[in-house]
Amino acid sequence: MTKNSAKGDKQQKQQSDNKGITRKPGTSVTEWIVAGISSVALLAVLSYLVLDGLSGRNGTAQIVVLPLEVAATEGGYVVEFAAANRAGQSVAAVEIKGELRSGDEVVEESSATLDYIPQKSQRKGALIFRRNPEAHDLRLFASGYSEP
């Protein structure tokens, strides 16, 4: 309370002391331009959200997992992947599985969990195999998720 009243006093003092510091209640052209640009930006955000709301969100996620790169390291073969969620719903705790196959037989399995894949976004991760994935048939897929 004392602080506020002190500030108020200070301001009144300044206003009476120095007319250059007190601004007139009128509005300069620059201020209106800034206000105009901001209003347009805000309207754009709101319209986007309205369109997004009207388009409706699909109830199921479509997760596509693609291998990006295989690197041989001391700890094994690291297969980097990108998991893209192509649907309009965000998902959490996405289990990504990878299999190395020789014909119909699965020779090695590996898995990783991604915390979130937001709607129409992608996340990267990696799986580690002991056998060389390039010598086998590599399959990557999402095996499940939960709603955030």
Partner: protein, 280 residues
């Protein structure tokens, strides 16, 4: 920007210096303690892109210099003093964050230097803001006189941005921001935008302009709404987009979810911006 009155004064006495430094430490601790005790903020230390972290620190310095024009832990009118004070604020924040993180055992001597620097650097922004705001928050005003200039329109907007940063930087590292964004439907986001704007306008118009702190006596409802609430809100969104980008929350995320996270973070941000003039 009104011309700053230049008053030649003697430097601070040793007692004033120590009081100022003590206030700065208190401010740094109070403002940084929520981030210091947030798990995601520690993790940011090592997975944050180093160049983005560097940019954040580089942006913090001029912001502090400008902020010291309107307040600070000691009265500074000259630009040189304000630059010195900004560095002191950063130093104080760094020392405070390092000490607390060491005591918590979050930072240890065995850790790689990159991780230690990252963890501490994340804390510098809220800490140095806190150190700079310490005078306004904690000081009884005995060290300061009436030389702090009243901000013009650009100055008011700047203080709104600082107010937004002050809350956003505390909340942005947490996973809750994106989690809420994922849970929200576009209609709920629209409702949040409208509610945030309404609150912001109510705070600015009712508490500041009709309260004790009116820089524009007689300014009308619409004028305040367009020039402060809307402009302020858009600025808050831009600041939050920058913060989320810095913390890597926008990487690989589609436009819709990014916007959603910005809207969520702008709720605390806008509250901070709206009450900025009451607390700064």
């Amino acid at each position: 920007m009104p011309p700053a009155e230049v008053i030649v004064r003697h430097g601070p006495t040793p007692r004033e210096f120590w009081i100022g430094l003590g206030r700065a430490f208190a401010g740094a601790l109070i403002f940084a303690v929520p981030v210091l005790m947030t798990m995601e903020a520690w993790a940011l230390g090592f997975h944050l892109h180093p160049l983005r972290l560097a940019l954040l620190l580089a942006v913090t310095l001029p912001m502090l210099v400008l902020l010291h024009k309107y307040g600070g832990f000691r009265q500074t009118v000259m630009l040189g003093d304000r630059i010195a004070d900004a560095f002191v604020a950063i130093l104080v924040a760094t020392v405070a964050a390092t000490a607390v993180l060491f005591i918590f055992g979050i930072v240890t001597v065995e850790m790689p230097l990159r991780e230690v620097i990252g963890k501490i650097a994340v804390q510098v922004v809220p800490g140095s803001l806190g150190a700079s705001l310490a005078r306004a928050q904690l000081g009884p005003g005995s060290l300061e006189e009436e030389q702090i200039p009243e901000p013009g329109y650009a100055g008011e907007l700047f203080l709104m941005v600082v107010g937004a940063l002050f809350l956003s930087v505390n909340i942005a590292p947490t996973e809750e921001v994106v989690l809420i964004a994922y849970k929200m439907h576009p209609w709920q986001e629209i409702a949040l935008v409208v509610a945030t704007l309404a609150l912001m306008h109510a705070f600015v118009y009712e508490f500041e302009f009709r309260g004790s702190h009116s820089p524009e006596p007689g300014a009308g409802f619409l004028s305040i709404f367009f020039r402060y609430a809307i402009v302020g809100y858009v600025l808050v969104m831009l600041v939050n987009l920058y913060i989320l980008w810095t913390f890597g929350r926008t990487d690989g995320v589609g436009f819709s979810e990014t916007l959603s996270a910005v809207v969520v973070l702008s709720f605390p941000g806008a509250l901070g911006a709206a009450v900025a003039r009451l607390i700064l």
